[in-house]
């Protein structure tokens, strides 16, 4: 449990650093673009909103830096991230709240599918090194380094443009009323297939290659030899002796992998016009909507931290050493 406590401490510190980066970026960058933004919307902004923006982006530098910093924390902790200018005058938190679920479900489900699928295949392939996959290596590295959004463009071109199997944009059929009906969920699933499959295809190779390599290394250990000598069944050796140990580094490096997935899916959402947080971030940037931009950066970072914490939790469940370690 000490392990989890230490990790929790680490995530709290990382969260504080991320929030501080968020505080310093607009203040350190030359010129303050928020100022011109406010000038443009001057007639529509209430004094209260203006004060909040001042605290969040340091437009007027009335107070000292430390006073600004504490004030900034007070605003963030009370859940105030300013107003969005793209969707004026909707608060940033509302915009994020309506787009985040789409991304969470799509990226979350696809990451889990890709992880499980890649791990299982990698496990089987790693059992017999020198098989077909090794010859496919250049191809799989090609797919793991090509940007997700480019694969998305190709998928869109082929399956949306040439053969018209799938819709080319949006997350649901707009003529269907929103709600928990079969019709709506069905249309949402139908719209999620193309971006989802693209996401799984682009991330699968990463997990697969890693699992295969760790499997090859693990199966060379002496305790695996012992298990074979004892005449244990292959499934047992592969699962309990090989895979259980080989999977640990994969979970431990979840953080880095998740960074890539988040990066990839932000752009992927733009390609598919999927109304998730990546698409909104793109719109925020195109419209120079700084409050929305920074709010999304914060929320994405916090969600990633949370996902990493969950991965750590799985790690503790799988690795007794992490439980025992002082």
């Amino acid at each position: 449990m000490l392990y989890l406590a230490r990790r929790t401490g680490f995530y709290v510190v990382t969260g504080v650093i991320a929030l501080s980066i968020n505080f310093f970026i607009p203040r350190l960058m030359p010129g303050n673009p928020v100022l011109s933004l406010i000038a443009r919307f001057h007639t529509q902004i209430t004094p209260k909103t203006l004060a909040a923006l001042d605290v969040l982006f340091g437009v007027h530098h009335r107070a000292g830096l430390w006073a600004q910093y504490t004030q900034y924390w007070r605003e963030i902790l009370s859940g105030n991230l300013g107003v969005s200018f793209t969707y004026f005058p909707t608060p940033v938190t509302h915009v994020i709240g309506s787009s985040l679920p789409w991304t969470l479900v799509l990226v979350g489900v696809c990451t889990v599918i890709s992880f499980v699928l890649g791990t299982v295949i990698g496990c089987v392939v790693g059992w017999r090194p020198g098989s077909v996959l090794d010859n496919l290596l250049p191809l799989s590295t090609f797919f793991s380094t090509v940007p997700y959004f480019w694969l998305g463009l190709i998928a869109l071109f082929v399956f949306g443009g040439l053969v018209h199997w799938f819709p080319v944009s949006g997350a649901y059929n707009t003529s269907v009323p929103i709600g928990w009906t079969w019709q709506f969920v069905g249309s949402a699933l139908y719209h999620a297939i193309l971006p989802g499959v693209t996401l799984v295809v682009s991330t699968l190779a990463f997990w697969l290659l890693r699992m295969r390599n760790m499997m090859v290394t693990t199966l060379g250990e002496d305790y695996v030899l012992l298990a074979e000598a004892k005449g244990l069944s292959r499934v047992r050796i592969m699962g309990m002796y090989g895979a259980r140990n080989a999977i640990l580094p994969n979970i431990a490096s979840f953080a880095m992998a998740l960074g890539f997935v988040v990066t990839g899916s932000i752009v992927l959402e733009v390609v598919f016009s999927y109304p998730g947080i990546g698409y909104v971030l793109y719109q925020a940037v195109s419209n120079e909507d700084y409050p929305l931009m920074q709010g999304i950066f914060l929320v994405i970072t916090l969600v990633v931290l949370l996902a990493n914490f969950l991965a750590d939790f799985c790690y503790v469940m799988l690795d007794p050493r992490a439980r025992e370690e002082a």
Binding site: P129, D134, L137, T141, V146, W150, E228, G259, M293, V304
Partner: protein
């Protein structure tokens, strides 16, 4: 001190590693692809003098003799754009990776060697930057940048891409610090920076190299994503901006596959070449993978021999499992 014996041994080891490196097929293919792209970047614009921005009469045409890779909506030649983009794309990626590697060296090796509070703080910092997702941060930074030229891009990418290298370098330095040869030179009164430069640095070079290659891949993908979103200077030709223009001018809806396929293929090819180089480096510096593969080989053979027959080793169709060993992602104790 038996310097000569030691040095001779060291030299033999280096020669052997070098031979293994140059004989690696993956390394060769990876380098070959990179060299081709490098030549295109340097000499391409000199040979192919057509301007990538020049508009022509032939609009939105597929590949033909006159335009090898077809033309865009405004009659620009896709091939000329591709050649002109190579230089900028590679320059930014390698530049960013170089700056990031320097930061990683200072933070990773410096922090690992110093230890103590400074080391802990630096380690914490790199772990934090590893967890904070890079692209949203890059996007926010790029959104505030007044100039979006090559240098600004390099700095932003380096600032967000150094953490991984720093982490693996720190782990390696921590283990080196307690090795006997480092302790020996410390006891013999060598100065700190000299130990760092002549004892530790040579031993982390393979990790520096593979970290560098890994960062180039990160930089090329992130840079392209940024350009695709229209967040870098869209008037500078790079593979990402080509995709941006293809997307903005609805190349996809018009069915102009020759417009957006080539830049992506180039990004993928360079990424593949770099990954192959990393595999090559890994095969050389990570003997554990080789030994394990050999051991497993013996095991498998034994398994396949039927019990009732005399022990005859048959060919199992097994080849060295060198293909596809973990590269930049060697496991690390944080």
């Amino acid at each position: 001190m038996g310097v000569t014996v030691q040095e001779g041994h060291k030299r033999r080891q280096v020669t052997r590693a070098w031979r293994r490196l140059t004989h690696s097929r993956k390394m060769f293919v990876g380098c070959l692809i990179l060299v081709v792209f490098g030549l295109v970047a340097v000499f391409g614009p000199l040979i192919d003098t057509r301007s990538p921005s020049a508009m022509g009469g032939a609009v939105l045409q597929g590949p033909s003799g006159a335009h090898w890779l077809g033309t865009t909506e405004t009659g620009q030649d896709v091939g000329a754009q591709l050649i002109d983009s190579t230089g900028f794309t590679l320059m930014v990626s390698f530049g960013a990776a170089a700056v990031a590697t320097v930061i990683a060296l200072v933070v990773g090796v410096g922090g690992g060697y110093l230890g103590g509070l400074a080391g802990e703080v630096l380690s914490m910092l790199s772990n934090c930057f590893l967890v904070i997702p890079a692209l949203p941060l890059v996007i926010v930074l790029a959104g505030y940048l007044p100039s979006k030229g090559g240098v600004a891009l390099i700095l932003v990418l380096a600032l967000t891409g150094w953490a991984w290298g720093a982490r693996i370098l720190r782990a390696q330095t921590l283990s080196l610090r307690r090795r006997e040869f480092v302790l020996a030179s410390r006891v013999s009164g060598e100065r700190g920076w000299r130990i760092l430069l002549s004892e530790i640095l040579p031993h982390v070079m393979p990790i520096v190299a593979s970290g560098f290659v890994f960062t180039v891949i990160f930089a090329i993908v992130t840079q392209s994503s940024l350009a695709f979103l229209g967040l870098s200077n869209v008037n500078t030709w790079s593979w990402g901006t080509m995709l941006y223009w293809a997307q903005t001018n609805e190349g996809l809806q018009l069915g102009a596959w020759w417009w957006f396929v080539p830049p992506g293929v180039c990004i993928g090819l360079v990424g593949m070449a770099l990954a192959l180089i990393n595999f090559g480096i890994d095969d050389v510096v990570n003997p554990r993978l080789r030994i394990v593969a050999r051991k497993r080989h013996r095991l498998l053979r034994r398994e396949r021999v039927p019990e009732t027959q005399p022990v005859v080793v048959k060919g199992t169709g097994w080849r060295p499992a060198s293909a596809g060993q973990a590269s930049g992602d060697r496991e690390v104790v944080a």
